[in-house]
Symmetry: C2
Subunit: 345 residues, 2 copies
Amino acid sequence: MGQVSIKDIAKAAGVSFSTVSRALNGNPLISQEVRARVQTLAREMGYTPNALAQGLQSRMSHTVGLVITTISDPFFVDVVKGVEEVAREANFSLVLATSNNDPDQEMKIIETFSRRRVDGVIVAASQITSDYAARLEGIRIPVVMVNEQAMGGAGQQLFSVTVDDFAGGRLAVEHLIGLGHRSIGYIGAGNRPRSNSRRYRSYQAVLAEHGILPAPEWSCLSKETAIGDLEGDIRIGQCIVPQLLEAGVTAVFCYCDTVAVGAMLACHDLGVRVPEQVSLIGYDDNLLSEVTRPRLTTIHQPKREMGQAAMRMLLACMSGSQIGDLTLQPSLLVRGSTAPPHDTA
Amino acid sequence: MGQVSIKDIAKAAGVSFSTVSRALNGNPLISQEVRARVQTLAREMGYTPNALAQGLQSRMSHTVGLVITTISDPFFVDVVKGVEEVAREANFSLVLATSNNDPDQEMKIIETFSRRRVDGVIVAASQITSDYAARLEGIRIPVVMVNEQAMGGAGQQLFSVTVDDFAGGRLAVEHLIGLGHRSIGYIGAGNRPRSNSRRYRSYQAVLAEHGILPAPEWSCLSKETAIGDLEGDIRIGQCIVPQLLEAGVTAVFCYCDTVAVGAMLACHDLGVRVPEQVSLIGYDDNLLSEVTRPRLTTIHQPKREMGQAAMRMLLACMSGSQIGDLTLQPSLLVRGSTAPPHDTA
DNA sequence: TTGTAAGCGTTATCAA
DNA sequence: TTGATAACGCTTACAA
């Protein structure tokens, strides 16, 4: 057969296979001579320990499952990156699965992770239904949710790492108000109901604080596609911006950068100049925000840090530490797409 | 303990555990009555088969390892997507690892995959050193390389799915020549030596066919970063385009869309209009190419199809089929960044 | 139709 | 310091 086992080495070395196991695992109860002989033999014979057997025996697979909605969303790309970095360093393998926001697939993914006896799960799926928690309830392993509030049941080890959406929304809207805008629109993404609603509510709250009552036509919570893929989000921005311009807004707060890019493209195609005629602010600080002209002013989310934190929390949890939820802070990134309103009004 | 095993079910059902195994696996040699009882019991007790034990026994982990250079490159994102789709459908899990083009990490990844007894490996790392083949040689599992020629040793099951870079380069350059351009530049990415060199060579060949001898100043094969991440590629385009414009080119063939986006940004910042003053053509058809203004003319690569094909080849190979390498064809996607040269010369 | 037993590759316990 | 032996959870001959 292809693979050499410790029995094969034992035979070759003329010792018992438990001795081989000890020699290979740095067990001190073994003579230098035997250890050396076994180790060279193992190398020569091309021995690779069988992680399946080790996992079966130790009841640890050294594996974590990572669920994301779609890999097409640049947001998740960075989260995955962060997770991967920490996982690699800790010698954990990553089992990747995408849910496409399909409950059936989510179900299947949880089931698969459970079969594989992953030691932990990270869920970075923006549209979490409450079902998720219930599904995860069954399996007895720690779960960290990225960007969704965790509301675990009794004995469940359910945690979350989030970025404060209210703070982010405030940052964005206060920036626009600070520039002198009063008629500020909001373009939402209805397919991410939770974070969208948080950002929308902070938009309303901040306007209210400044004595501004937003007209209903100033905002639209579109629901283009089930999953938040790039094309869909861009289309949201493209489709909605004309209505808002019509309604007379001088600035638009967009749910995410991708929506903002769509908005900017629509402005370009309409001959409306950004930021001279309308200011645009995004959210996320994703790769697209750097390549538009003007560059997009946006709310930076520490995406990679979220991924890293999620994985670190999992590791801490496995090693028995008591851990709690984590909330990171967003920050304002002023680039070229926002400016004081043109004195038209 | 948390997990229920077939023994627990056996005890509860008052049968032997092998009977349980049979009942659960649809073995026909069992009475309807026992089968039903065992199955309900399994459901009630929350039984989930242990994939580690199954894998140990069956010598199949139902897992494939996927190595990519970096998840920051949109090219890989789509490849991963394709792989994932087919894997999911076939009930295979995906173990994801990124190499960052670091030989040490690559080494470690192969080692890890080998320990985990993955049933196959897909390598989508653009900068393959010859070491790779050697490293993979050791492990007896099928390997499919995406976008790199496979040159496997004797008994090795090493395959490849590629897109014809020569054809792609030809498509691009002939498009520019067809528009009337004669002074055509090339911006390469020296950190992807193989595909870069193929595209560059076809650039030279096509020009030669048309009696054009490219000046040395028309092309530059930059090597910005070790890995082909987005920022690095954009910077390549940005840095090199001024020199080429200086050298008098009226059109530029860029190694990939990201480089082309960098080039377009540089043109924008220089006040050089695309395509009026200079035509730009990219390669890949990635997400960025859609959001620039003008939209980027490019060579479409069937990235997702490559991922799908790679995974299908692996599955075929596992099921004992004889398979061969696959070459897909690129296609020209004419958008707004190319036009006939301005009559300056 | 069902039970017994062996084996997959490890680690760990207990004697020797 | 080493060797049997059991156990991890499962599948699969082989017996009954």
